[in-house]
């Protein structure tokens, strides 16, 4: 714990040092703002244009969360079917893998053709990018239940449903959360790419617009806001993980400490 706080403090110190060097270098070397704006310029421009960024942030966050939730709702039940039915696995898994190998971002323009410019294509692209890590890790989770524990379960004569919610599901949860966290990290990338392509709203659209105006400080500001949104989303998932699978998190902490 102590070491962890020490780590956070020293990384904050490093970040501050970097900002100071950055600020000093842009001023001393006279680097033009459109190439590399000083942190102070980024901050003041950001403060002036705050409402516009806030509105776009809201849209991007909604796209991210909606796509992610859709992935969870479709991905986890599908993964369960894949894990328990060899028939489903044989018939669907190759298609899922093929979809994963496709560069999904290349599909984005098609989505615009099919679904227009609204929310739909963006949510779908987030869904497409976050879907695979959730499915794969959930399948792994359900398939890697300790065979000894399964034998114990069989020896009790318990039915399939009881075995599922007492043994299989809790046993798969740590792996499911691995998938959710990878998906959470991908979600903001997916949302921004979709907004680049659709180019009508959101932070991705804002970056394209500001870039076109050579308003580089605002491009920086938008990227920073995007980073913060992604980070908050990721830590939210990690927080839920701590609540839902505390035994797993505590085991990990033990291993790190050893």
């Amino acid at each position: 714990m102590f070491e962890k706080n020490g780590g956070a403090l020293s990384s904050i110190a490093t970040a501050i040092a970097l900002l100071v060097v950055w600020e000093g270098a842009t001023r001393l070397l006279g680097i033009p703002t459109y190439l590399l704006p000083a942190p102070s310029v980024i901050a003041s421009d950001f403060a002036r244009n705050w409402p516009r960024i806030a509105d776009s942030s809201w849209i991007t966050t909604l796209n991210m969360v909606a796509g992610f939730v859709l992935s969870v709702l479709v991905g986890i039940p599908l993964a369960m079917a894949l894990a328990y039915s060899p028939q489903v696995e044989r018939s669907i898994y190759p298609i899922v893998v093929f979809l994963q190998i496709l560069p999904k971002i290349a599909i984005a323009p098609l989505f615009i053709v099919w679904f227009g410019f609204g929310t739909m294509p963006k949510v779908l692209l987030v869904f497409l990018l976050t879907f695979f890590p959730i499915v794969v890790n959930t399948v792994v989770g359900f398939k890697s239940v300790d065979p000894g524990v399964m034998e114990l379960a069989r020896s009790t004569g318990a039915g399939a449903l009881r075995t599922f919610y007492k043994i299989r599901f809790p046993s798969a949860l740590p792996s499911i959360f691995v998938g959710l966290k990878i998906a959470a990290a991908l979600a903001s990338t997916a949302a921004v790419v979709a907004e680049f392509v659709a180019s009508d709203s959101g932070l991705g659209y804002l970056i394209i617009t500001y870039n076109g105006q050579l308003a580089t400080p605002m491009v920086f500001a938008t990227i920073i806001v995007l980073g913060v949104i992604g980070l908050v989303f990721y830590f939210l998932i990690e927080f839920v993980e701590r609540l839902v699978v505390p035994w797993h998190v505590s085991m990990r902490a033990d291993q790190a400490g050893a």
Partner: protein
């Protein structure tokens, strides 16, 4: 003569995997009295574990019949508790939760069940550890929890598959002592699989010696050493005579070979 708890008649088990057929057991006849402590000792691959699975109802025989408490075994039974070589505790439940899992899986609940779980944990030496998680306990303590889990539903018959095989020598000695004490207290029928001749003679009323694959009953020895035996029973001349007799069987069957390096 006490009523028979476990009766195997002409039991054989053949596993089929693709085109390969492996006969693990053939012509096994065993009768175990209610409340007896019976150990099965034999070389690796002689079908000891298969024997235990047949009695537990996890596996069905290819031939012959397995009866427990007078009824043919057709699947997992309510009056059977199992302890495997690995503790197989689930890591998302504390020790008490792991013991209660046995009850929850069987649809048993209520304060008495909970009370019995606590009592048993104390009996196996885990009093005060109820709320620890498996990864916080040593291998020996995990196995103690597994024994409590195997007994919590008052099974009347405890099947143990090399339960101390994965433990270090000193822990194993302690576990043997404690198992004898627990058995004297609970008086369940124990069917104990081991590859240790010493352990079999030290713990059991009767030792069944298995032949190599396909496994069958080679010899049966009655162990009439007084209880509680503790570890001092090893100094009894009868202990030495029995372990020697069993060792000789393994020597004569080629399971053990004194001349191997001299060749």
């Amino acid at each position: 003569m006490a009523e028979a708890q476990i009766v195997l008649k002409g039991v054989g088990k053949t596993f089929v995997r693709g085109l390969q057929r492996t006969t693990a057991l053939a012509g096994v006849d065993i009768e175990i009295a209610r409340g007896a402590f019976v150990a099965v000792v034999g070389p690796s691959g002689c079908g000891k574990s298969t024997l235990l699975r047949l009695v537990s109802g996890l596996v069905m025989p290819s031939e012959g019949s397995v009866r427990v408490a007078g009824e043919p075994v057709v699947g997992p039974r309510a009056d059977t508790g199992i302890v495997f070589q690995k503790a197989t505790l689930v890591d998302w439940r504390d020790i008490l939760g792991n013991v209660l899992l046995q009850l929850e899986m069987r649809g048993i609940d209520g304060p008495e069940a909970r009370e019995r779980a606590r009592t048993l944990l104390t009996a196996v030496g885990l009093g005060g550890f109820e709320n620890r998680y498996p990864h916080e306990l040593s291998g020996g303590m995990q196995q103690r929890a597994a024994i409590a889990r195997g007994l919590v539903h008052q099974p009347g018959m405890l099947l143990m598959d090399e339960p101390f095989g994965a433990l270090d020598a000193l822990t194993r000695e302690q576990m043997r002592l404690d198992l004898e004490a627990l058995w004297l207290r609970e008086r369940m029928t124990v069917f104990f699989i081991t590859h240790s001749i010493d352990e079999a003679v030290l713990l059991a009323d009767r030792v069944i010696v298995m032949s190599q694959r396909p496994g069958t009953v080679d010899h049966v020895f009655d162990v009439d050493l007084p209880r509680p035996r503790g570890l001092a029973a090893r100094n009894d001349p009868r202990f030495a005579a029995l372990t020697d007799a069993i060792t000789r069987i393994f020597l004569s069957r080629g399971v053990l070979d004194e001349q191997r390096l001299a060749l």
